[in-house]
Symmetry: C2
Subunit: 132 residues, 2 copies
Protein backbone atom coordinates (compact mmCIF):
# COMPACT_ATOMS: atom_id res chain seq x y z
CA UNK A 1 0.00 0.00 0.00
CA UNK A 2 2.23 2.78 -1.24
CA UNK A 3 1.53 5.93 -3.15
CA UNK A 4 4.79 6.29 -5.02
CA UNK A 5 6.54 4.32 -7.71
CA UNK A 6 9.13 1.92 -6.29
CA UNK A 7 12.59 2.56 -7.76
CA UNK A 8 12.78 -0.97 -9.13
CA UNK A 9 9.63 -0.39 -11.21
CA UNK A 10 10.52 3.01 -12.66
CA UNK A 11 11.85 1.31 -15.79
CA UNK A 12 8.24 0.50 -16.74
CA UNK A 13 7.64 4.24 -17.08
CA UNK A 14 10.50 4.59 -19.53
CA UNK A 15 9.74 1.64 -21.79
CA UNK A 16 7.23 1.85 -24.62
CA UNK A 17 4.73 0.08 -22.40
CA UNK A 18 1.07 0.94 -22.71
CA UNK A 19 -1.03 1.85 -19.71
CA UNK A 20 -4.37 0.13 -19.25
CA UNK A 21 -6.62 2.91 -18.05
CA UNK A 22 -9.89 2.18 -16.26
CA UNK A 23 -12.47 4.92 -15.96
CA UNK A 24 -16.06 4.82 -14.72
CA UNK A 25 -19.09 5.14 -16.95
CA UNK A 26 -22.10 7.23 -15.94
CA UNK A 27 -23.71 4.20 -14.29
CA UNK A 28 -20.56 3.50 -12.25
CA UNK A 29 -19.42 0.49 -14.27
CA UNK A 30 -15.81 0.32 -15.44
CA UNK A 31 -14.33 0.49 -18.91
CA UNK A 32 -10.67 -0.10 -19.86
CA UNK A 33 -8.64 1.18 -22.79
CA UNK A 34 -4.93 1.02 -23.63
CA UNK A 35 -3.33 4.44 -23.48
CA UNK A 36 -0.04 6.20 -23.95
CA UNK A 37 1.20 7.74 -20.71
CA UNK A 38 4.20 9.26 -19.02
CA UNK A 39 5.26 10.17 -15.51
CA UNK A 40 6.24 13.71 -14.53
CA UNK A 41 7.92 12.63 -11.30
CA UNK A 42 4.73 13.08 -9.29
CA UNK A 43 1.74 12.30 -11.50
CA UNK A 44 1.00 9.80 -14.22
CA UNK A 45 -0.13 11.79 -17.25
CA UNK A 46 -2.40 10.60 -20.02
CA UNK A 47 -3.74 12.44 -23.03
CA UNK A 48 -7.10 12.24 -24.76
CA UNK A 49 -9.39 14.50 -26.75
CA UNK A 50 -12.30 16.56 -25.50
CA UNK A 51 -15.65 14.80 -25.73
CA UNK A 52 -14.36 11.25 -25.87
CA UNK A 53 -15.71 8.59 -23.50
CA UNK A 54 -12.61 8.73 -21.29
CA UNK A 55 -12.76 12.52 -21.18
CA UNK A 56 -16.42 12.57 -20.20
CA UNK A 57 -15.90 9.82 -17.64
CA UNK A 58 -13.07 11.45 -15.72
CA UNK A 59 -14.79 14.85 -15.70
CA UNK A 60 -17.79 13.18 -14.07
CA UNK A 61 -15.80 10.88 -11.79
CA UNK A 62 -12.04 11.36 -11.38
CA UNK A 63 -11.44 7.91 -9.86
CA UNK A 64 -9.31 5.86 -12.23
CA UNK A 65 -6.86 2.99 -12.31
CA UNK A 66 -3.90 2.45 -14.59
CA UNK A 67 -1.86 -0.71 -14.86
CA UNK A 68 1.39 -1.15 -16.76
CA UNK A 69 2.65 -4.57 -17.73
CA UNK A 70 6.32 -5.05 -18.51
CA UNK A 71 6.50 -5.74 -22.28
CA UNK A 72 9.51 -7.95 -21.55
CA UNK A 73 7.85 -9.95 -18.75
CA UNK A 74 4.05 -10.00 -18.58
CA UNK A 75 4.16 -11.42 -15.04
CA UNK A 76 5.73 -8.19 -13.85
CA UNK A 77 3.44 -5.18 -13.59
CA UNK A 78 2.55 -2.11 -11.62
CA UNK A 79 -1.07 -1.36 -10.74
CA UNK A 80 -2.02 2.17 -9.74
CA UNK A 81 -5.31 3.37 -8.32
CA UNK A 82 -5.57 7.09 -8.51
CA UNK A 83 -7.48 10.29 -8.95
CA UNK A 84 -7.46 12.74 -11.85
CA UNK A 85 -6.50 15.96 -10.08
CA UNK A 86 -5.86 18.18 -13.08
CA UNK A 87 -7.50 18.40 -16.53
CA UNK A 88 -5.98 20.87 -18.92
CA UNK A 89 -5.93 21.82 -22.58
CA UNK A 90 -2.89 23.99 -21.98
CA UNK A 91 0.23 22.06 -22.89
CA UNK A 92 -1.79 19.12 -24.19
CA UNK A 93 -0.56 19.47 -27.78
CA UNK A 94 3.07 19.57 -26.68
CA UNK A 95 2.37 16.61 -24.42
CA UNK A 96 0.82 14.43 -27.15
CA UNK A 97 3.81 15.21 -29.35
CA UNK A 98 6.15 14.07 -26.58
CA UNK A 99 4.14 10.85 -26.28
CA UNK A 100 4.39 10.36 -30.05
CA UNK A 101 8.13 10.67 -29.59
CA UNK A 102 8.11 8.07 -26.83
CA UNK A 103 5.86 5.54 -28.54
CA UNK A 104 6.41 6.15 -32.26
CA UNK A 105 9.73 7.99 -32.35
CA UNK A 106 8.00 10.77 -34.27
CA UNK A 107 8.31 14.45 -33.40
CA UNK A 108 4.67 15.22 -34.18
CA UNK A 109 1.61 13.21 -33.19
CA UNK A 110 0.46 11.83 -36.55
CA UNK A 111 -3.15 10.93 -35.74
CA UNK A 112 -4.53 14.37 -34.98
CA UNK A 113 -8.10 14.84 -36.24
CA UNK A 114 -9.48 18.14 -37.58
CA UNK A 115 -11.13 20.13 -34.81
CA UNK A 116 -9.82 17.82 -32.12
CA UNK A 117 -9.00 19.47 -28.78
CA UNK A 118 -6.31 17.57 -26.93
CA UNK A 119 -6.49 17.30 -23.15
CA UNK A 120 -3.90 16.20 -20.61
CA UNK A 121 -4.95 14.54 -17.36
CA UNK A 122 -2.77 14.30 -14.29
CA UNK A 123 -3.39 11.28 -12.12
CA UNK A 124 -2.46 11.37 -8.45
CA UNK A 125 -1.20 8.01 -7.19
CA UNK A 126 -3.48 6.95 -4.33
CA UNK A 127 -2.43 3.32 -4.17
CA UNK A 128 0.40 1.55 -5.95
CA UNK A 129 0.91 -2.19 -5.97
CA UNK A 130 3.41 -4.26 -7.87
CA UNK A 131 3.76 -7.85 -8.97
CA UNK A 132 6.84 -9.74 -10.10
Amino acid sequence: MANSIPDNFRDLFQKKAFGQLATLMKDGTPQVTPVWFDFDGTHVRVNSAKGRVKDKNVRRNPQVAITVQDPDNPYRYIAVRGTVVDISESGADVHIDSLAKKYLDQDKYPFRQPGEVRVVYKIRLDNVSTMG
Copy 2:
Protein backbone atom coordinates in the same frame (compact mmCIF):
# COMPACT_ATOMS: atom_id res chain seq x y z
CA MET B 1 -22.50 -1.10 -29.38
CA ALA B 2 -22.60 -4.86 -29.76
CA ASN B 3 -22.69 -7.68 -27.28
CA SER B 4 -20.82 -10.33 -29.24
CA ILE B 5 -17.29 -10.72 -30.52
CA PRO B 6 -16.94 -9.64 -34.16
CA ASP B 7 -15.56 -12.44 -36.31
CA ASN B 8 -12.57 -10.34 -37.32
CA PHE B 9 -11.52 -9.97 -33.68
CA ARG B 10 -11.89 -13.59 -32.63
CA ASP B 11 -8.18 -14.16 -33.26
CA LEU B 12 -7.44 -12.07 -30.15
CA PHE B 13 -9.14 -14.76 -28.10
CA GLN B 14 -6.85 -17.44 -29.51
CA LYS B 15 -3.53 -15.63 -29.18
CA LYS B 16 -1.56 -15.60 -25.94
CA ALA B 17 -2.88 -12.11 -25.29
CA PHE B 18 -3.55 -11.04 -21.73
CA GLY B 19 -6.84 -9.53 -20.69
CA GLN B 20 -6.82 -6.33 -18.66
CA LEU B 21 -9.56 -6.88 -16.13
CA ALA B 22 -11.14 -3.99 -14.27
CA THR B 23 -13.15 -4.68 -11.14
CA LEU B 24 -14.63 -2.33 -8.56
CA MET B 25 -13.28 -1.88 -5.05
CA LYS B 26 -15.64 -1.60 -2.06
CA ASP B 27 -15.70 2.20 -2.45
CA GLY B 28 -16.66 1.94 -6.12
CA THR B 29 -13.26 2.90 -7.51
CA PRO B 30 -11.70 0.76 -10.23
CA GLN B 31 -8.62 -1.44 -10.17
CA VAL B 32 -7.04 -3.19 -13.17
CA THR B 33 -4.92 -6.33 -13.35
CA PRO B 34 -3.60 -8.40 -16.27
CA VAL B 35 -5.27 -11.81 -16.40
CA TRP B 36 -5.31 -15.01 -18.34
CA PHE B 37 -8.68 -15.60 -19.97
CA ASP B 38 -10.50 -17.66 -22.56
CA PHE B 39 -13.80 -17.56 -24.38
CA ASP B 40 -16.29 -20.44 -24.23
CA GLY B 41 -18.26 -19.21 -27.23
CA THR B 42 -20.64 -17.17 -25.07
CA HIS B 43 -18.77 -15.90 -22.03
CA VAL B 44 -15.28 -14.62 -21.36
CA ARG B 45 -13.87 -16.75 -18.56
CA VAL B 46 -11.21 -15.72 -16.09
CA ASN B 47 -9.75 -17.63 -13.15
CA SER B 48 -8.63 -16.43 -9.76
CA ALA B 49 -8.41 -17.77 -6.21
CA LYS B 50 -10.90 -17.42 -3.39
CA GLY B 51 -10.24 -14.44 -1.13
CA ARG B 52 -8.14 -12.39 -3.53
CA VAL B 53 -9.00 -8.77 -4.26
CA LYS B 54 -10.55 -9.60 -7.64
CA ASP B 55 -12.58 -12.42 -6.11
CA LYS B 56 -13.94 -10.23 -3.33
CA ASN B 57 -14.64 -7.39 -5.74
CA VAL B 58 -16.73 -9.35 -8.23
CA ARG B 59 -18.71 -11.10 -5.49
CA ARG B 60 -19.65 -7.66 -4.17
CA ASN B 61 -20.16 -6.02 -7.54
CA PRO B 62 -20.24 -8.14 -10.70
CA GLN B 63 -19.71 -5.20 -13.07
CA VAL B 64 -16.36 -5.58 -14.81
CA ALA B 65 -14.51 -4.65 -17.96
CA ILE B 66 -11.90 -6.59 -19.86
CA THR B 67 -9.79 -5.28 -22.70
CA VAL B 68 -7.52 -7.30 -24.95
CA GLN B 69 -4.79 -5.66 -26.97
CA ASP B 70 -3.39 -7.48 -29.99
CA PRO B 71 0.20 -8.46 -29.06
CA ASP B 72 1.10 -8.00 -32.72
CA ASN B 73 -0.49 -4.56 -33.08
CA PRO B 74 -1.12 -2.51 -29.93
CA TYR B 75 -3.40 -0.13 -31.84
CA ARG B 76 -5.84 -2.98 -32.36
CA TYR B 77 -7.90 -4.03 -29.37
CA ILE B 78 -11.26 -5.20 -28.16
CA ALA B 79 -12.87 -3.61 -25.12
CA VAL B 80 -15.63 -5.48 -23.33
CA ARG B 81 -17.89 -4.21 -20.58
CA GLY B 82 -19.66 -7.04 -18.87
CA THR B 83 -21.15 -8.71 -15.85
CA VAL B 84 -19.92 -11.71 -13.91
CA VAL B 85 -22.92 -14.01 -14.14
CA ASP B 86 -21.42 -17.20 -12.74
CA ILE B 87 -18.82 -17.85 -10.03
CA SER B 88 -17.84 -21.46 -9.53
CA GLU B 89 -15.18 -23.60 -7.88
CA SER B 90 -16.40 -26.59 -9.86
CA GLY B 91 -14.22 -27.03 -12.92
CA ALA B 92 -11.90 -24.23 -11.84
CA ASP B 93 -8.85 -26.48 -11.47
CA VAL B 94 -9.36 -27.98 -14.91
CA HIS B 95 -9.87 -24.46 -16.27
CA ILE B 96 -6.65 -23.05 -14.79
CA ASP B 97 -4.77 -25.99 -16.25
CA SER B 98 -6.24 -25.25 -19.67
CA LEU B 99 -5.13 -21.62 -19.29
CA ALA B 100 -1.63 -22.82 -18.33
CA LYS B 101 -1.68 -24.79 -21.57
CA LYS B 102 -2.71 -21.70 -23.53
CA TYR B 103 -0.27 -19.25 -21.95
CA LEU B 104 2.66 -21.42 -20.85
CA ASP B 105 2.24 -24.55 -22.94
CA GLN B 106 2.24 -26.57 -19.72
CA ASP B 107 -0.32 -29.23 -18.90
CA LYS B 108 -0.53 -28.28 -15.23
CA TYR B 109 -0.77 -24.80 -13.74
CA PRO B 110 2.65 -24.44 -12.08
CA PHE B 111 1.92 -21.59 -9.64
CA ARG B 112 -0.67 -23.27 -7.43
CA GLN B 113 -0.32 -22.31 -3.75
CA PRO B 114 -1.03 -24.67 -0.82
CA GLY B 115 -4.63 -24.31 0.32
CA GLU B 116 -5.58 -22.15 -2.65
CA VAL B 117 -9.13 -22.60 -3.92
CA ARG B 118 -9.38 -21.78 -7.62
CA VAL B 119 -12.49 -20.03 -8.92
CA VAL B 120 -13.75 -19.52 -12.47
CA TYR B 121 -15.81 -16.47 -13.37
CA LYS B 122 -18.02 -16.23 -16.43
CA ILE B 123 -18.40 -12.75 -17.83
CA ARG B 124 -21.45 -11.88 -19.91
CA LEU B 125 -20.67 -9.45 -22.71
CA ASP B 126 -22.85 -6.40 -22.22
CA ASN B 127 -21.02 -4.05 -24.55
CA VAL B 128 -18.21 -4.78 -26.99
CA SER B 129 -16.24 -2.16 -28.84
CA THR B 130 -13.24 -2.54 -31.06
CA MET B 131 -10.44 -0.37 -32.34
CA GLY B 132 -8.13 -0.90 -35.27
